[in-house]
């Protein structure tokens, strides 16, 4: 195993990820596995070659993920879906996931400093009322037992989200409760 240099703070820098258990060797990938990877280029990633040990679950997970975040024909702007992902990851403590989705949030919103404040100060950072409402809803959804309630919905509506956009917040934040648990428990980030 190569040397791991784990980050100790949240960052928007690009990080690596090192698996704690054995990914499937690239030479052993069959067409069933490539179907699970969805994008063939993902065969280069340890993370995806680990998850591809259950190809059907990985394929369904990946397609769920892509539609929730990339289908922007309507609904919540991409920047705010990424904000929900970054806030969930910040709250659960997934430094790797937070780095990826904080970068996306910065790219799509052009508000890199605000995104950095979320990472530095945590989910209590004041990012303006619309982003605060999205972060608060994401945090409430990340809690166990789930704390998301009528107040979160009223607040999201007050800052201008319609029900379809609120569903995008619910989907995006909920999905990262899936992603965070995989990235946090099967390996670790490395600078």
């Amino acid at each position: 195993m190569s040397t791991v240099n784990p980050p100790v703070v949240f960052t928007q820098d690009e990080l690596g990820w090192v698996s704690w258990i054995d990914p499937l060797p690239e030479a052993e990938l069959t067409e069933r596995h490539y179907a699970g990877l969805v994008d063939r280029a993902r065969a280069k990633s340890d993370y995806f070659r680990l998850l591809v040990r259950d190809p059907e679950v990985l394929e369904a997970r990946t397609k769920t993920d892509k539609d929730i975040f990339y289908n922007v024909a309507d609904g919540l702007p991409r920047a705010e879906r990424e904000l929900a992902a970054a806030a969930t990851s910040r709250y659960n403590g997934c430094i790797y996931c937070a780095s990826v989705h904080a970068r996306f949030a910065s790219t799509y919103s052009k508000r890199r400093d605000d995104v950095q404040r979320l990472l530095d100060e945590g989910v209590g950072a004041d990012l303006g009322e619309r982003w605060n409402a999205v972060v608060k809803a994401s945090v409430a959804l990340a809690e166990t037992p789930i704390a998301f309630g009528p107040d979160n919905i009223a607040e999201l509506r007050r800052v201008g989200l319609d029900d379809a956009e609120i569903v995008d917040v619910i989907n995006g934040a909920s999905f990262f409760n899936w992603a965070n648990r995989l990235m946090l428990s099967l390996g670790e980030p490395s600078k």
């Binding site: 259950d54 403590g93 009223a154 569903v167 619910i170 409760n177």
Partner: protein, 204 residues
């Protein structure tokens, strides 16, 4: 096999309703959340992680989130499995022992350590270990970590699962199952909350 969409069923979303139309705009996500569920609970090959074990872990994980239609659904799935039904009472008792509030746990040592939050380190009760067996004992303890304190996860936890008889492929599917349920229970809860908010608005 044609199955009603499990999230729609658990969230009480009726065909033709406003939320049904909204969910239809993310058709790929809706269909693949369903495929995720089917791949986990009706897999092609359950050799590394039996159906009874899947149902037991699912009942435990969703029960830890508190009583809900989702928790009831997975308890029924466990009760309906021939090898799972005898585990039901033990799982229910362990849910009660494991209930707490998350997320908590430690960050990597450094500036984030001020945010470390202590909490329950759950272990299966000694009296129920023989009935559950080594594999499920290790699985329930790791599932509790994944639910409440995922940031505490360490490479040693993988060794614990391997030592308890889990294969690498089994660990992947088991981790996906717990993580997927963490998603599913939240989507269902969020959609139910949104439907209720819209209904009370329509009445006022």
């Amino acid at each position: 096999m044609s199955t009603n969409d499990i999230i729609d069923t658990l969230a009480g979303i009726e065909p033709g309703s406003a939320l049904d139309a909204i969910r239809a705009r993310r058709l790929q996500a809706r269909e693949n959340a369903q495929k995720s569920y089917l791949s986990l609970f009706e897999p092609i090959d359950a050799g590394d992680f039996s159906l009874a074990e899947r149902a037991a872990v699912a009942a435990f994980v969703t029960g830890l989130h508190g009583e809900s239609p989702v928790a009831a659904f997975y308890r029924e799935k466990l009760a309906a499995n021939v090898d799972g039904a005898p585990l039901l009472e033990a799982i229910k008792a362990e849910i009660e022992r494991g209930k707490t509030s998350g997320p908590y746990g430690a960050f990597p040592a450094g500036p984030l350590s001020v945010e470390d939050k202590a909490g329950l380190i759950y272990r299966v009760s000694a009296e129920r270990k023989p009935g559950l067996g080594n594999r499920l004992v290790a699985a329930l303890e790791h599932a509790h970590l994944l639910v409440f304190r995922p940031r505490d996860a360490a490479s040693a936890d993988m060794k614990t699962l391997l030592a308890a008889g889990w294969s690498t492929a089994g660990i992947v599917t088991f981790s996906q199952l717990v993580a997927f349920l963490s998603f599913q229970v939240r989507v269902v809860s969020g959609l139910r909350m949104l439907a209720a908010a819209s209904a009370s608005e329509a009445q006022s």
